[in-house]
């Protein structure tokens, strides 16, 4: 009688044969059941997928509304719109990976001179932008500088997260300080406010927003500039820059709160809301949080635009633009979507959802109803309409080199090195000149 069981021996050959057969069967089961044919054309010939990469705004309502607007447009046009929001500081890495791989989001939101960096990777949108400019009464010069690269519009001007100085009216009054009209008055105000116990707070570390938007206009206002009009000749070594650096050291020593060398974009928000400082340059987010959570603080807060320097009044606004990636398979749909959200019916509602946190780049929106909601937010519009906004690389164009200088914090560190006493002012300028020569000198 045979044993009820039998020892099973599988040879390697049998094992491999079986495994190969299994893999083959699996592959066969995963294969399309019908022969691949041409895809069914979408309704009206439109593509079916659009991936939009945007930053996470500090005003959540704005993100929510734009998402809804895009998805509603998608439903009407048979386009599946996927909107992804990420931290603004993380957009560079995502965009770089997408450009290198030639795959990823179809539409990307970025800021400042990025259309210059990615000129070859962005679609020409000149026709659409020119039509928008015509319809919406023109666009501000800084947006034209950023988005029109070598005569071709590579991105749609989208919005400003404009910045002004928020200040405590009660502290200013008690310290005997008036709203400064010039940077010298600003320095004097800082001395009094610091003596009063509520200094000025201004970031001087490595962060994408606050440090550059304060220190570039500071340089320009005292007459300093990184390059000449040709956008190539380094011009940082000048008496004007020396004055700017010396004045920065004076402000740092006598008017700023301790620790600003380590501040990032959120540090001044926290310090102001905790009533540690009396004034700082920021977007409207501090005021909005105060209105929502600390109404008494909002009551004693107001805003003023950039003071004037010996060379004029300058500001550096955070300019958001929207570009379409050249690798996108849905370029026409992407153009249609962006044009749609920039139309007054959508864009005005979006501006109002932000209550003044964002400002329109087209002059049509200068009188948007949002500016009638609260007189304290008007400076956020005025700092745009007064035409003071410039860009890294000014008076030259905001080239890829200028954006490299900005993203490597050369101008911010020029002041940081002097304020921290790592270098004397002249040495700091020499250091910055060396860095600028390296960047502008490279082919």
């Amino acid at each position: 009688m045979g044993k009820p069981w039998r020892k099973v021996i599988i040879s390697r050959r049998e094992f491999l044969g079986g495994a190969l057969a299994g893999v083959g069967a699996l592959a066969a089961s995963c294969a399309p059941t019908q022969p691949a044919g041409p895809q069914a054309p979408a309704v009206q010939g439109r593509p079916t997928e659009l991936h939009v990469l945007r930053w996470s705004s500090f005003v959540a309502e704005m993100d929510k509304l734009i998402d809804t607007q895009m998805q509603e447009w998608g439903k009407k046009n048979n386009v599946n719109v996927k909107v992804e929001h990420i931290n603004a500081n993380d957009i560079p890495a995502r965009l770089a990976a997408a450009v290198q791989a030639k795959a990823g989001p179809d539409i990307v939101q970025f800021w400042d001179g990025w259309p210059w960096i990615y000129e070859d990777s962005l679609v020409d949108v000149s026709k659409e932008v020119e039509e928008l400019i015509k319809k919406l009464n023109g666009v501000y010069q800084d947006f034209e500088a950023y988005c029109k690269v070598n005569g071709v519009w590579r991105a749609f001007p989208y919005s400003y997260t404009s910045n002004t100085f928020i200040y405590r009216t009660d502290y200013f009054k008690e310290a005997g300080v008036a709203v400064p009209k010039t940077w010298d008055e600003f320095i004097e105000a800082g001395k009094k406010l610091k003596a009063y116990g509520k200094p000025i707070g201004q970031a001087l570390g490595h962060s994408f927003g606050d440090p550059p938007t304060f220190w570039y206009p500071w340089l320009w206002a005292w007459g300093g500039k990184e390059v000449l009009e040709d956008g190539k000749t380094v011009a940082i070594e000048s008496d004007a820059t020396l004055l700017a650096v010396e004045k920065a050291v004076e402000l740092f020593d006598t008017g700023l709160i301790e620790g600003v060398l380590s501040w990032d974009d959120s540090s001044n928000n926290r310090a102001y809301l905790a009533e540690q400082i009396s004034c700082t340059l920021n977007g409207a987010s501090i005021y909005f949080v105060a209105k929502r959570d600390y109404p008494k603080l909002a009551e004693v807060s107001d805003h003023f635009v950039h003071p004037r320097g010996p060379a004029g009044t300058f500001s550096y606004q955070l300019d958001w633009s929207v570009g379409i990636m050249a690798y996108s398979k849905n370029i026409q749909a992407a153009k249609d979507l962006i044009v749609h959200i920039l139309q007054p019916e959508q864009y005005s509602a979006w501006l109002q959802s932000g209550r003044g946190y964002e400002t329109g780049p087209y002059r049509y929106y200068d009188n948007d109803p949002v500016w009638r909601t609260d007189p304290k937010i008007l400076p956020f519009r005025d700092v745009v309409t007064n035409g003071t906004a410039r860009w890294p690389g000014w008076p030259g164009p905001p080239t890829a080199k200028a954006t490299q200088v900005r993203n490597n914090y050369i101008i911010v560190d020029l002041f940081a090195k002097a304020c921290s006493r790592e270098f004397k002012p002249r040495e700091a300028i020499k250091w910055a000149a060396g860095q600028l020569q390296q960047i502008y000198g490279r082919s």
Binding site: R12, Q100, E258, N408, E422
Partner: protein
């Protein structure tokens, strides 16, 4: 006859015939040499795609003036030569060696001390051993954010505590040399558990009879540690040091969260500078060159460590 015939038949069968050589895949797979290489193929393919290709591509990029989205021209060693003249890179170079050297020494000392303590019997021993690992287990970004708050120039809990004792704390992430010191503290805090647990595992493999014999001979605890524990722990120490140096050299997360290389580049390491130059600034060729500077330094470290290990084994 019949027998003879059978024998003749049998002997005819027994004579080995030369079979025709076949090349069926099944038979080839039965051969060790072929099958061995075949089984290695998936791992080799993975390594090629995810390690070798990026590495070679990184070398190629470093030899070009590529920008993101724009294939560059071959420029030879120009990126490397330019970097040696760049004061930010020079500072980064010094920072990286200082950061790795100082933190490694402290992690080694603290790791040994904690392991020696944990190797004793005490109440809640297992719980404490698990708890010691926490800083190493918590995702670095999360713990770095917690440290960011603790080092905040306005709301630092550390300075708040110091103020209770009448001491004015420094601006941890602001005024030199404190930013680098702060980063080192966090790195040591995070890395020490890895050392401690590895050393503890090594200590537990040491034969207890050695300690008993030493005790009979009147050896003190320090002598036992010096002459028994340390020599027998050397292979583990070497491996831990090797891994730790590699990881610390290429540290990114801590610096990115706490300082982003600031203030004024005083805390940049190779990885953070490579990121800043390669991605936000778009100079991917130059960024690749910066990151490749890690490679020879690590090669020397690995070589020295392995050479030392081999010498120990021979001894």
């Amino acid at each position: 006859m019949a027998k003879k015939g059978v024998l003749a038949e049998t002997s005819a069968v027994a004579v080995p015939k030369r079979l025709p050589r076949t090349f069926s895949p099944g038979i080839i797979l039965e051969r060790e040499q072929v099958l061995g290489y075949l089984l290695m193929l998936p791992a080799l393919a993975l390594l090629t795609v995810f390690v070798l290709y990026p590495f070679l591509y990184g070398i190629w990029l470093a030899l070009t003036d590529s920008r993101i989205g724009i294939p560059g021209q071959f420029v030879g060693l120009r990126n490397f030569l330019d970097l040696t003249q760049d004061s930010i890179f020079q500072q980064t170079f010094r920072n990286t060696f200082l950061y790795t050297g100082v933190t490694t020494v402290f992690k080694l000392i603290f790791g040994l001390a904690i392991a020696a303590l944990l190797n004793n019997k005490f109440p809640l021993k297992r719980f404490v051993r698990a708890a010691v690992l926490l800083p190493w287990i918590v995702p670095t970004v999360l713990s770095a954010l917690a440290w960011l708050w603790m080092f905040d120039s306005t709301f630092s809990v550390v300075n708040w505590v110091l103020a209770r004792f009448g001491i004015k704390g420094p601006v941890w992430l602001g005024n030199n040399p404190w930013p680098m010191i702060s980063l080192m503290v966090v790195n040591i805090w995070r890395g020490t558990p890895f050392y401690a647990i590895s050393f503890l595992a090594g200590m537990q493999t040491i034969n207890q009879e050695l300690y008993e014999a030493a005790a009979i001979d009147g050896a003190s605890r320090w002598q036992m540690f010096r002459h028994i524990t340390l020599p027998l722990l050397k292979p583990v120490i070497t491996i831990v040091l090797l891994l730790s140096v590699i990881l610390t050299f290429s540290d990114f997360q801590l610096i990115y969260v706490l300082t982003r290389g600031g203030p004024a580049n005083s805390t940049h390491l190779f990885a953070t500078l490579a990121y800043q130059v390669g991605l936000p600034s778009g100079e991917i060729g130059r960024g690749a060159a910066i990151s490749l500077f890690i490679f020879p330094a690590l090669c020397i470290t690995v070589f020295l460590t392995l050479w030392y290990m081999r010498r120990q084994e021979l001894d």
